[in-house]
Every structure is written in C-alpha cells, then in structure tokens.
Symmetry: D2
Subunit: 295 residues, 4 copies
C-alpha cells in the first residue's frame, strides 16, 4: 500500500515535491492546494494532481476561472497520511494545528522555525532522528548545501570550526520579491541564522555564517573556510566528496565558471525543469592552507 | 533511408538542433563538432553524438583532456548529406566554401547575412522557396518571432505597415557577451536590420524596426504596432493566432506577467531544457485602435 | 519677498525639488516632511531644511532617534504659500483636502491622476495654462521626456501621429520596488497611460504608447516613430532639438552608447547628484524614412 | 612651487585622480592623456586639463574629431615631476621604462603587480615606506578597503588571523567588461591575490581571501572574520573605527541596507560624482563571537 501524500502549496517548492513523490514507487500524490487559479493550478491539473482550494474562500476564484476543485485543504487532510507544507515561510505556524487536529503527519520546509516541528532533518546527516516523528522540518536549501559538503568532511576528518559567507540570489527566476536591482545587501544580524540552522542537524558543530543578497536569480554560492583535523590533502578531500551522494564536482577548466553555466550543465544533463539537484563544488577551486580548507 | 545530418558547432544553438534532429524519424545525427573539450563536448558524447574536432589543430586539446574524437570537420563532411552551421555569427562565411567543395547541403543560422545562402527561410512564411536549395539560411530568433505573428495576420487581413520595437536580452543565460550590467543600450543604426530581415521571407512587407538591449538573459520581447486592412476585431485577431502553429496565447490574469514567468511556464509544460519553442503573445495585452493593432 | 515653499515628502523626488527651489532667488524652502528618522531626514537637516513630521504619530519616531522636528505637516502648511507634494503616487489624493483647507497652493507630481489637480503642466508645452491655478500636476518623467522632444517637432513641422515604446527601468537606484531581477515585463493594459498623459499638456496629439519594465536602475529609454508633416530632413530635425532647452544631443561615436554611459556623462558634467536633467537624444541614432522619423 | 603632475589615462580612475590633484594647493595638473576623442576627452578639456594623445598614432583620431591635442605622452613626460599611470591593468608594465627614461617619478595603480614598482602604498598603513621612491604602486580598491578597516584593528588590538570573502561588482557603472548578466562567478584560484596584496602594505599579516563576482555595478562588499588579540568588545571596535580617517560607520536602522542606498547617501552628502570615498561599515552589522569579529 502506498503512502498517501498531500502537498499544501503547489508553487516553486511544491511542484518539485509533487514531482519527486510521483517518482517514488511507494508513495502517491492524493492532492495539491492552490489559493488562486493561476497557470500553476493548470500545471497541477496537467500533471494529474487533484486540485484543492487552500481555503474555503478561494473556491469561488477557481470556479470563476472555470476550474473545478476537488475540495478544500480540510477535505484533502482527510485523505492523506502525510502533508508536505510548501506554503510561504511563516504560514506553516498557522497550519500546524490543522494538521495535528486531522491526525496527519506533517513535513515543513526550511522557511519555518526549527521549533515548529522540534525536529529538523537532512537525509545525509540525521536520517535516524526523524524516524517515526509526527512532524519534521526539512532544512533550507542553503543549510542543506552546507550540510552536504560539511557532514562528509566531519565524518572523514573531524571539523575544528567552519566559517561560511553565503552569496545569495535575490529571488527565484519567476519571482518578484523586492530585491534591489543593482545592489548588494548584507544580512546585518550576525552571525546569520544559517549557522544555528546547520546545528539543528549537525549538533555541536562550531560554525559561523554571514550572508549577502545579490541581484541574480540563479543559485546561491558559498565561500567556506573550514579547519579540518589531521590536515588532509586536497586530493583526500575531493575523494570524500566524490563518494558523497548528491555532491557534484565540477571544473572551471571544462568551461563551467559561473552559476549560469552550472545551470546550463543541469539542462545538458537533461534534468527535469533544468534543476541541478546536486551541490556543485569546483574541484579546481579548493585550497588547503595548513589545516584550513577553502572552497 | 534517413537523411544524414552533421552539426558544425555544438553550442547553445547546435545542441538544440541536434536534439530536434534526433526527434525526427527520417533524419539522424552523424556527428557534431566542438573546438574545445568543454562540458558541452561531454554533453555531446553523453547524448550519443559522435564528436569531431572543428579544426585539425583542435585535436590535441581533446586528447589532452582524455577525449577521443572521431575525426575533424573534414571527415564529418564526407559522411553527411546536410550540415547545419551553428558556429558563431560571421564564421559561416568561411565555412561556406568547405561545404560546397564537399558537396554537402548547408543550413546557416540567422547570425549570417542573407546573401551568404541567397535564400532565407521560415517554415511558416516561405517553406516552398527553400525546396531543393543547396544552401539556405534560417532567419534569427527575433525575425522568426516577428514572422510567426505577422505572417498569419497578413494572410488573414493584409498588412498596411508595421513597426516593432525589440527589447532584447543582453546575453544567453550561460554567456558573457559584454552587455552592460545596469544599462539600456539602443541600436543606433536605424531602422535596424530586423525589418529587412523579415522581408527576406515576407517579401515586400512594409516594416520598420528599432531595438534596445537590456540586462536580462531571458527572452526577447517585441512591442509591435501594425496597421491591418479591413480593421478586424481583437477577437478575430486572437482567433487567427490561436490556429497558428507555434504561437501560444498567454494571459497576465493567469499570473504570467513577465518573461521570467513565461520561462517558468515552459518548465511547467515539461519542455526540454525549459525552452518555450513557441512565440508567446499576451492575449490580454493586445489592443485595436482604429485599424492599428498593438501587441 | 520670496515665495515660501514646503516640500511634503523629502525622498527621491522631494530632495531634488528642495534643491531646485534653493537655487532660485525668488523662492525659499520653509520646511520639508519625512515619516521616519532615516538617513534622508539627516540629509534634510544637513541641507538646512527645517524638518517636519509628516503626521502627528510620526513625531515619537524622530524623538526616539534623537531628532527634534519643527512640527508636523499641519504646522508647515500654516507657514507656506506653496506646497510641493512629493509623496508616493496615490497619496496626493488624501493630501489634497488638507492643502485646500489650509489655503495653500499645491503642486502634485506625475504619479497622481490628472483629475486630482485638473491642470497638468509642462514648462515647454503649456506654461500659460497653469498661470494662477490653485493646484497643478507636473507630468511624470516619461511624459515630460516625450513632450520635450515631440513639442518642438509639432511647433516646427506638425505631427500627423506618433507611437512610442517606453523601455523603463525597474526601480530607482536605491529602491526595492519588486521588479523582477532577470525578466522583461510589459504593461498589458494597452495603449498605456502615457499617451493620454501627453495629451494633458499637448492637447489633441495623436499618440499611442506601449511600455515594458526591464531590470535596470538607470534611466528610461523611448523608441519613437513619429509621422511629421512636410517631411523635414534629419538635419532640420536635429536643428530644432539643438535649440530646444533641456534637450541634449549625444553621440554613440563619442563613446556614449548606453544609459550607463549617459549617467557617466552627467557626472563628467559635474551635475549635482549625477543627474542629467536633460532629455538625451542620440544624434547618430535617428532616421527619417519617408515622412516618419525614428529616434 | 607646485609639484607638476601628469595623468596617463583619463578614464574612470584617471579623472578622479586629476580632480583630487586639482583640490590640492601644492600640486597642479600639467596634462592628461587619452587614446580616443571620446566624451571623456571633452570632459578633460572642460575641466581645463591640457589634453595629450597617449601615442603618436592617436593624434589623427583627435584631429579628425576637431580636437587639438597639446602633444603626445612623450611631450607630457618632459613637463611633469610625477606621472600617475591610470591605464588599464597590465599596461603599466610597458610604460614603466618610458617613465624611467624620462626621469619622471611614477605612481601605478592596483591593477599592476607589486613587483612593477617594488613598493606598494596605503596612506594609512605604510606612508613612510614610499618616501622618496621613484616608483610606487597604490593598492587596489579592494585591498585598500581591507587595509583601512584591518590596520586600525591591528594597531589597537593585534590580529591573530583574518579571512575575507569579497563580493565584487561585475563592472564599473559605464563599463561593459564581460561579466555574466545573471550569475555569480567565483575566483577559482584560491586563496585569491587580495591576501598577498594586503601583505604588501601590512607585512606579515595572516590573511586569506576568497572572491566572487556578482552582476551589479555599485561597490564591492566584504564579509570579514578576524581573530583579535585580547578580545575587545564591539563598542571598543566601533570606537577604533570611529576615529579612523575615511572609515564611515553607517546603520541599517537609518534605512541604509544595501550598496545602492550607500551610493544614495554619497549623493546626499554632496560628494563629487556621487562617490563615497570612505569605507562604509555597518555599525549594526558587526558581531564578536569569542575573540572573532565578524563584519
């Protein structure tokens, strides 16, 4: 019997979650929600996902656009084992009680606070901790990126301490979020939340982070310095990453020099939606100085 | 027996051409060329396309990177019926003689001058003119866009005259072409070449064009005013486009308001590489004033 | 005796207005307003402008930041002959009654509707119409740009009809307005409001307009086609503009090819804040085809 | 008697140098060079700087544009005590011999290698070392930025070690340098040259650097972590910077949150060309964690 999954919020994240669930043999999508009859609602229907209005008051909007919904979120919750909350950051708080009342397990995304679920999750670092939980939070893309490259280093060598500067994109490609068109904007609250966020899945790691937002829509990029125990060679570090799932070593020598070219690679690889899904590391862009690795 | 096709220049355009050829039942890719062992060379091999060095002197570069090429362009030309020239604009000139000497039919792209092939081509407007030619030029993306929307209007109503302002992207997503990062740059030579270029496939059309380059990597956008004979209604115009192949009517009301969202739609449609391949027209962004249509 | 002027809203527009008033011999700034104790409030004080809180409830914010305000907008209105409303578009509506009740003449800016003041104004086109009015609206920057180049053409030759495509910047340099970072966004409501807006100062002109927003912060650029009576030569057109105040002929041959370089020119000219203040026209970017001028 | 100064290369850097020299009582500009009769050549003349052709073969170009030059670089070198080389990076190498042969002292800029002059210079850190030298290199803007904030910390507390991630703009505002329009591009050669460059003026400092290029034209931004001896408080650190010349403390609370707003502040301050000229540090964007300062 397949696990019945609902996706609350079929947007940038939600449609990727729904696609990934559909790819699994032991899960099925029972329905997805939208608040408005946008082109993404049409996408859901084209993909064969039953469409639910996020709230009762949204139903009229869909009907006005000639789209028949299968019900509301409340109806969907009666049919699923698990709901994946892909609503905008902060909305999960309000939904949590709904899910609990319906007796449905919930997965929140990294825009929510750790405290919301009490358990944060990264498949590589702490798979076991989420076992059997009734609510869990998957850490954000930036935190996931840090964990995927730092966790294998910690396992292989041990980490004395780490410092990362995150160079973030200003918005998703199709989004208008209010980033400045021609400016760099730092996070002024230091160190940023990314360090503590990494520690929700890599407990006790000594990591500090800073972050700036830049006017680009493609990927985030991290500049990381990490002191490793035992002082491994650059080759030993690359070997560790080469055997880490969903880490991809790329090379400037191959003509991949910026994030635009990384995205072109993803298209060349035939990845759905042109997403890379891996954490890319430039293998010719790392350096050991003493015990400190820069990448 | 399948038509044997070679692609000279497996880059942004070439890889799309090779993919499209592969999709046809009556054609096959015999080989593609590259000058350097970049990640796109790896893409060619992964796609199963035999890889040739563009020039004899390029062979060493491939071997140094551990890539074995199947020969050079000269070797490829001996094996194909048709070569599609996807080299950078202006390079086609030099290649023309090579192709002629090898007795191979050649297709050039819109970056080359009309005079190079003597025949320009758009599938909708002048399919018959290219019949049996030994060399033909496919018009550029901007010209194709103009033709796909203007030709059906000319067929249905007749065009008195047209004027288009082209708002162009500064570079391909993975490219660094020297566009200004935060500026708008007009073409100063007026009217621009696009008008005459349209006339290579829609002979005699009265059309003038202007163009500006803007700092974006996603799509070009055309602001067009066209005087139509007979003064059709907006609905009649939309009906014509609705039945035109590879024209797609989109709507701001569905949440598709900018080119970023058009590209998101292309991904939602599951299009390979996230390419739209259609000319998108906002159906809620057209207006008839007297006999003049604005879109 | 000098005309006493107040500026309601000391932001991007307001600080330029205050500067321009200060430059005049027959006017003086009596005060400017701000809602928050931002760095622009400090700028006002540094410039010697008495600072007023826009609303009574804003006073605490200033005092919390250690800034003593001279009163509120109501106090300022008692001291001025004229108030220049530089508040965000749409806010003027609410202020209009305040100004009328205080018996103060008001100047609104182009973000407000023509109907708000009943009289729109451009110094070149209809100076006389604003004479003695108790409220007047200065048309927007884009409309001003169109009028400054079209009005002299109409005077010299007569205009049959005009069509302009406006390529707009997405935000002011220091602003975050929610423009897409990497997309082109057209105005879907056609023709755009700019045509009717031009007619508020050039009555009866046959003009249609379209507009797109692009991800740049420097200047707007207009692609204009205009049918002129009598078919003047390009030289005659340039001569007309050369003698028009606040129109500046520039040249791509001098190395000024994009809006970034136009702004560099403004700095080279030593203009305050690096503002150009003129409408720049590329003299090597114009073309007459028949009776139609493209620029 | 005033020091006679020539500026070789009146471009983005050269015009600022010429302006700064003009502001001094004990120096005068004897002439500046240009290769082409661009608008910047006109700027030089408007500013009253005698204009020289950079090379003999450039003279014709100026004459063709109706600009009379005062001679060539060789002529200029006969008249000056000091030449400031503001030619594009790497060109200084070729000029060095010219200057030496003419017996003229030379100042190079940070785009040149330290070895070219043998002495690098920052007014704050090593003023005395350049005393009497016949050639000196002023370090680059990024290095200057690092030195201006790190040197006072070293003087006050001592620095154990420092790590900086530089988020760089892709081009000058009026420049088209080939930066990607919508991508982040890291420097792959690690650590970057900025660390060794800082050590040319702060000898022996333990500093490592990384750098990424982003699609913006306004300012560079540095994320710095520095281990300080003695563990000062945040207030003690701010006090040190507050008394450092050309360091300016800014605040996000005042509405200055990104580099666009920093540039707006520069305009508000009435700075020529809208340049800030100071190194801005967010006083509400610093944090001490143990002995490590993040800013």
């Amino acid at each position: 019997m397949k696990v019945k999954v609902g996706v609350n919020g079929y947007g940038t994240i939600g449609k990727r979650v729904a696609w990934a669930v559909k790819e699994q043999d032991d899960m099925e999508i029972v329905g997805v929600t939208k608040t408005r009859p946008s082109y993404e609602a049409s996408t859901a229907l084209r993909e064969g996902h039953p469409l639910y209005a996020a709230r009762a008051e949204d139903v009229d909007g869909f009907e006005g656009a000639g789209i028949k919904v299968a019900g509301t979120l409340d109806d969907l919750l009666k049919k699923v084992d698990v709901i994946v909350d892909c609503t905008p950051g902060g909305t999960g708080e309000r939904n949590k009680d709904l899910y609990a009342k319906a007796g449905v397990k919930a997965i929140f995304q990294g825009g929510e606070a750790h405290e919301l679920a009490g358990i944060s999750f990264n498949a590589l670092a702490n798979y076991h901790e989420a076992w059997g939980a009734s609510a869990v939070r998957v850490v954000s893309c930036n935190t996931t990126g840090l964990v995927r490259t730092l966790f294998p280093l910690q396992q292989a060598f041990g980490i004395e301490r780490a410092f990362a500067s995150l160079v973030r994109r200003g918005a998703d490609p199709a989004d208008k979020k209010g980033a400045a068109l021609n400016a760099i904007e730092p996070s002024l609250k230091l160190p940023t939340h990314h360090g503590p966020d990494v520690r929700t899945v890599m407990h006790g790691l000594d990591i500090q982070t800073m972050a700036v937002v830049t006017p680009t829509t493609l990927m985030h990029l991290h500049c990381i310095s990490v002191e490793l125990k035992g002082g491994p060679s650059e080759k030993e570090v690359l070997d560790v990453w080469a055997s880490t799932p969903r880490v991809r070593l790329i090379s400037g020598k191959d003509g991949i020099k910026n994030t635009g070219q990384v995205m072109e690679l993803a298209k060349d690889l035939g990845r759905p939606r042109g997403d890379l899904m891996d954490i890319a590391i430039w293998k010719d862009g790392i350096k050991m100085v003493g015990n400190t690795l820069y990448y």
